[in-house]
Symmetry: C2
Subunit: 321 residues, 2 copies
DNA sequence: CACGGCTCTCGACAAAAGTCAAATTTACAT
DNA sequence: ATGTAAATTTGACTTTTGTCGAGAGCCGTG
């Protein structure tokens, strides 16, 4: 950390204010500094995670719909963000909820796998700071060197920063031009270790991508729109940690996937808590695929998506009977 | 819980304010209520534990002295409240710290054993509310029916209330007049179950009492000052959960102990995290006894007490060499 | 159906917290 | 030693929050 005396002061101010319930001016003359400084220290304390303000996410799981989705898909826990009921921008609401849920799921000493995407980055961005000890955040997939603001390593690093945790980045590109090169790279000790460490995670945070021209994979140049379309007709249903999955949630057998450096789905499934967050309603099928593939134990979605999931489950039951 | 609509509103207000960072007036017209109501809801949210504000207790463990005490006595974690550096009343500071530490140690689904005493009651009294799910608070010792404000069952209940947890009380007196009656009572199914359940706790919270006329045991009439003095000369060194222990931290072999209904020390030792809090400097020897008996893995004390502990440890080492 | 007693809500005021530009200190390179 | 840039601190100001008594709505009861 930075300078000791400052840290110490922040901590003392936070302690007197939040734990003992003194007023700012009382804290100020306890510590012989101005009230303005106290206010500043307190802000820093909040930003650093020395004090933690968290709101229970109970309400969002207590929902009957959430329970139904849990039952219908065999998930451990589901949170539903009530759409447009609260705020102008519903996707922000989902991200805020996801961040809270995420912070609730993280424990001291945990190892956390983080994938990549707009959703994950949004979450990282609005997530409040926490002072977890002994936490490691590992990147689940290789990097996309695109001129993009949310790169995989940025997601990892930002979340690590907010948790006061150690960030373990992947020093490899997400996609290589030949299968052979990808294979060799995967064999490299540095990369190999990183990949092997993924199954040891306690918690994973990711979203699922759609298989269309709007996908990051296309925008970052990993695949052309035409290639994406081709994959789609080959059965591609979604994107997880940079890999293409089919409707059953298995890795699609295609050249692209063989050229990717990313967590194996088996490793992901080995992670105890897999938190999946889906913001866009268009990602219905990708989400179904991810759930089918057992890539998600904890789910955060909007109300609309939850309804579609339930409709789908209902239809499936009818069809079966 | 109480009425649903009110709960719902509190939750929504808390969510918008704390998670989304809106101002109170913004929340107010989102929910179409007055700002004053919002302020009120937010207070309730804090009081209910729907929002949690916690300050890291890091600083108090980071202390070099804390580390030394940990090493010298083989404890898992030690927190030291800097005496008089902060506030007028140092004992409050210890209690506030203890409450924070306690809340940090509690996990969802835990079973918590709580003993009895002024210290424990003070902690219960200043502890902030939390919305833990699935937590059970069990009483570690029988009741003292004295006209006292902090009775064992009150400690248990108050803590349970603050945690939104289930409280399991002991429906038996702490001390009986004959050994035979105590034995029979211990055999009663209700009591037997309660006693058996203690070893299953994940966390215990207690203090240690001194063997003198100021002890609660004397004040509540369980023992006369003369009896206390006699026990002292027989080797009594402290009081844990209503039982008299000797300097090694074992149950003293005496009639009083055989007439007591309380957790067996073996059960207490079976609890993973044993948080002991000592406020008074006079409880030095009782604390040593408790530590010697392995009744404490996590310790919260004042700076002065910590120094005495270290001195003692230093002296013991010198003597040995 | 009128009546206390009850809780809930709001407006207005008081208190507290946040903010910002200027002043002061500190750190460091010259 | 000395000037300069960066960081810290502060007083004065604004905005936000807390509080309290008055009034409105609600219910069971006589």
């Amino acid at each position: 950390m930075a300078i000791r005396p400052a840290e110490q002061l922040i901590h003392k101010a936070a302690w007197l204010y939040y734990a003992h319930g003194l007023r700012q001016d009382e804290v100020a003359n306890q510590l012989n500094i101005s009230r303005a400084s106290v206010a500043m220290y307190l802000r820093k304390a909040r930003e650093t995670g020395i004090v933690n303000i968290s709101t229970s996410t109970q309400l969002f799981t207590d929902d009957v719909m959430a329970r139904k989705v849990e039952d219908a898909f065999g998930l451990d826990a589901v949170w539903i963000a009530p759409e447009n009921a609260y705020l102008a921008d519903p996707s922000t609401d989902i991200a805020v909820l996801a961040a809270s849920v995420f912070l609730e799921l993280v424990k001291k000493g945990d190892r956390i796998g983080v994938a990549w995407g707009r959703t994950v980055y949004t979450i990282a961005d609005i997530m409040s700071f926490a002072d977890l000890q002994d936490v490691t955040v590992v990147q689940l997939c290789g990097n996309l060197g695109a001129p993009y603001s949310y790169r995989p390593d940025q997601c990892t690093m930002e979340i690590a920063r907010r948790l006061n945790a150690k960030g373990l980045n992947f020093y490899a590109p997400l996609v290589l031009s030949t299968e052979g090169l990808a294979k060799s790279l995967r064999g490299e000790p540095v990369i190999r270790d990183q990949l092997a460490g993924i199954a040891d995670c306690d918690l994973a945070l990711y979203s699922v991508g759609a298989v269309d021209a709007d996908s990051h994979l296309v925008k970052c140049g990993a695949l052309s729109p035409a290639e994406m379309e081709a994959l789609r007709s080959q059965g591609a249903a979604g994107v997880i940690a940079g890999q293409i999955i089919d409707a059953r949630g298995e890795v699609l057998d295609c050249s692209y996937n063989r050229r990717v450096i990313s967590a194996e789905l088996a490793s992901l499934r080995a992670i105890e808590k897999r938190l999946m967050v889906v913001q866009e309603d268009t990602k219905f099928e990708p989400l179904l695929a991810a759930i089918a593939g057992g890539l998600c134990t904890h789910l955060v979605v909007g109300a609309h998506m939850a309804e579609r999931l339930l409709q789908h489950a209902g239809a499936a039951i009818k069809k079966a009977s």
